[in-house]
């Protein structure tokens, strides 16, 4: 049993410490006159701390069964910023830290491509800070701030190879619309604050369900508008169908480890925030019930379109990184399909299973996609080209990486016994329970189309005939081992899935059903109870 004080003492200083490390990185590079090693060690320290902290927080939350609340500066919810961690965001934060660890290690090998590696590590740590901040926070405005920390690091990393015109162009398009999206989220927060009167998530969840003053239709339409604006921002960040246009440009143009972080982790943030808003904040019993279900149906349709479009576009690609980027769009679509099961009111079991499937899919996709981007980086480094024609047969020189890549592709395609199979199975099963057989069929169709794209990449890289002989580069052994360990984790998670189901089920339950515990844990910290303070709130 993990003691509560330990979990709290690791959770609270996490993002502040990471921010300090971010600003120490360029300083250390100058002081120690080492552009690669010192920043790398700092980044590694940061990511190791976040791995330990997020794992212990997860263990505590899972064992105690109730959310963990950290009050910054001791201020109670609504008046101060709080971090509130239930099984859902504890799981996602743990995933983020653990996937970030191989990415940082890989960056050290990859850093011969960087001219100023210290700035790269600065931005990468900033990205990690933003990711953890968005996932852990229990305050909707703090989510905005952390989303901006995350976004500006991501823009900077996409434009990192600034001598490449394509990278600058992709970053400019991503950043321009990204700023509009986050501003829209800020606007939505203002409207929520005007209508409901708080930006704390737990209080919003409670007030949207029980406040009598919110029965006014004006307030309801205002909140609905705010929900629409914030969902636009979140779906932009996670590249759901009409907002996916930036991803196939931005993700491939970034340095390869960053592509892994963007495709594996950053899109999760949008999915996470959408889930928080549509289940915890405005659930089926809230003031938006009815409208919310309509929104979820729209998201379901967009998810299906996203899955199909991503899979189809994958077939047309010659560039391995663009192929992987379109596969990200397809898988984000599948995760949204699972997530949008909340419109099935009356089928609580179905919603629970489908949402658990969506969470599993996020986990499966993150690990597999990070693995695939990093192994494609090994091949691209060997040949100096991203074109599948030039990559023919290069996998033969790197057998371990090739095996890892095949496992990653198979997991994405959904083969037994990899975890990617179980995630799709759970989503499909959830819809079956509710009697909607069309959705499982669509998931199978999406998987079938995307399987062709995966096969194209595997056949070209591993089984193709080399056009010119490619030498195996030296000093890559430990990178291959790291990649293989990631592939192994996909198999292990799949084989042990029977024993891991309670984890995903608990995460889904905390999101879908246990909103009361989420609210109560935060309200416990308000001195004298909420009713004493309500007159002073809006």
């Amino acid at each position: 049993m993990v003691p509560e004080t330990l979990a709290l003492n690791l959770l609270g200083p996490l993002t502040p410490t990471l921010i300090i490390l971010v600003f120490l990185t360029p300083l250390f590079a100058k002081v120690f006159r080492s552009d690669r090693k010192a920043p790398f060690i700092l980044a590694l320290l940061g990511v190791l701390y976040s791995v330990v902290a997020s794992t212990i927080v997860f263990l505590y939350v899972y064992q105690s069964g109730k959310p963990l609340v950290y009050l910054y500066g001791g201020w109670p919810p609504h008046f101060g910023i709080v971090y509130e961690v239930d099984a859902f965001n504890a799981l996602l934060a743990m995933l983020t830290s653990w996937v970030m660890l191989p990415i940082v290690l890989y960056s050290y090998w990859y850093s011969h491509h960087f001219d100023e590696a210290s700035w790269y590590y600065t931005l990468l740590l900033g990205l990690l800070t933003g990711l953890l901040g968005v996932i852990y926070t229990g305050d909707a405005f703090n989510l905005f701030v952390m989303l901006e920390v995350l976004s500006i690091s991501a823009y900077g990393l996409v434009a990192y190879h600034r001598e490449r015109a394509e990278a600058v162009e992709a970053a400019a398009k991503y950043a321009l619309i990204g700023l509009v999206a986050t501003t829209m989220y800020f606007f939505a927060l203002i409207l929520i604050y005007a209508g409901i009167g708080s930006v704390n998530m737990a209080l919003l969840a409670m007030l949207s369900r029980f406040s009598q003053t919110l029965n006014d239709p004006g307030v309801r339409y205002l909140t609905l508008l705010a929900l629409a604006l914030s969902l636009w921002a979140f779906t932009y960040k996670s590249a759901l169908f009409p907002n996916h246009f930036w991803l196939p440009d931005a993700h491939p143009e970034a340095p390869t480890p960053v592509s892994a972080a963007l495709s594996g982790l950053v899109v999760n943030v949008g999915i996470y925030a959408t889930a928080r808003f549509l289940y915890t904040l405005f659930g089926s019993d809230s003031m938006l019930s009815g409208y919310r279900e309509a929104v979820l149906v729209v998201i379901l349709m967009l998810g299906v379109v996203s899955g199909v479009v991503g899979a189809m576009m994958m077939l047309l690609q010659r560039d391995i990184k663009r192929l992987l980027a379109y596969s990200t769009i397809s898988h984000v679509g599948i995760a949204y399909i699972g997530l949008s099961a909340g419109f099935l009111t009356g089928y609580e079991e179905a919603v629970k299973i489908a949402v658990a499937g969506a969470i599993t899919h996020v986990v499966a996709h993150s690990i597999a996609k990070a693995l695939l981007f990093m192994s494609s980086g090994v091949f691209i480094d060997a040949t100096g080209s991203r074109d599948l024609d030039d990559l023919q047969g290069v996998g033969r020189q790197y057998p371990l990486t090739s095996i890892s890549m095949i496992i990653g592709f198979l997991s994405l395609a959904g083969f037994i016994p990899l975890i990617g199979f179980y995630s799709k199975l759970l989503i499909a099963y959830g819809y079956f329970v509710a009697g909607l057989a069309i959705i499982p069929v669509l998931i199978i169709v999406i998987s079938a189309i995307s399987l062709l794209g995966y096969m194209k990449a595997i056949v070209a890289i591993v089984f193709g005939v080399p056009r010119k002989s490619v030498e195996r580069k030296m000093g890559i052994g430990w990178v291959e081992v790291t990649l293989f360990l990631m592939a192994l984790s996909l198999i292990v998670l799949g084989i042990l899935f029977y024993y891991l189901t309670p984890i995903f089920e608990k995460a889904s339950l905390d999101l879908v059903k246990n909103v009361g515990t989420y609210v109560n844990e935060a309200l416990n910290y308000i001195p004298g109870g909420l009713s004493k303070w309500l007159p002073y709130m809006r």
Binding site: F141, F144, V145, E148, S151, I152, Y155, G156, A159, R162, A165, E166, V168, E169, A170, A171, A172, K173, A175, L176, I177, L179, V180, T183, F186, F187, L189, I190, Y193, A194, G195, V199, G218, F245, P248, D249, E253, P535, Y536, R538
Partner: protein
């Protein structure tokens, strides 16, 4: 209705309407103006309009039309006076939010301007119709 009250209400409506029009115009600018600098200007107009709306939210109950915003001034700093003021005074939270948003907006805008400079170095133009090396 008193003339001053009417004037207040009228001016408030005009302000809110023009702010919302600002939002609409800036969105049009971001998506349909071809020039990169104009897009950046449109985004800053957008964030400034959102910030101004946030400041207006701070004046309590401007949503209900019968009460235009009025600024309460804390004169009595006794316990009761502060308690009374906390009920009617201008809400400081939106101002804190706006302060944060302004700083963030400044940083991102600066970064966008730098990207514009790099774009110009590569393409010798800032017309987004000509900057199309990527397929999208």
């Amino acid at each position: 209705m008193e003339p001053t009250e009417f004037l207040n209400l009228y001016l408030l409506s005009v302000t809110i309407a023009s702010l919302l029009a600002n939002v609409a115009i800036s969105l049009y600018g971001v998506f349909y103006k071809p020039h990169y600098t104009k897009k950046i200007i449109a985004v800053s107009i957008l964030s400034d309009s959102a910030n101004t709306i946030a400041i207006f939210i701070g004046f309590r109950r401007w949503l209900s039309p019968s009460q235009p915003p009025s600024v309460a001034i804390a004169t009595n700093l006794s316990r009761e006076g502060i308690e009374k003021f906390a009920n009617v005074g201008v809400d400081p939270l939106p101002q804190a939010l706006v302060l944060t948003a302004i700083v963030i907006g400044l940083a991102v805008t600066l970064f966008l301007i730098y990207l514009g400079y790099m774009l110009y170095c590569h393409y010798k133009t800032l017309d987004m119709r000509e900057i199309r090396r990527l397929k999208g």
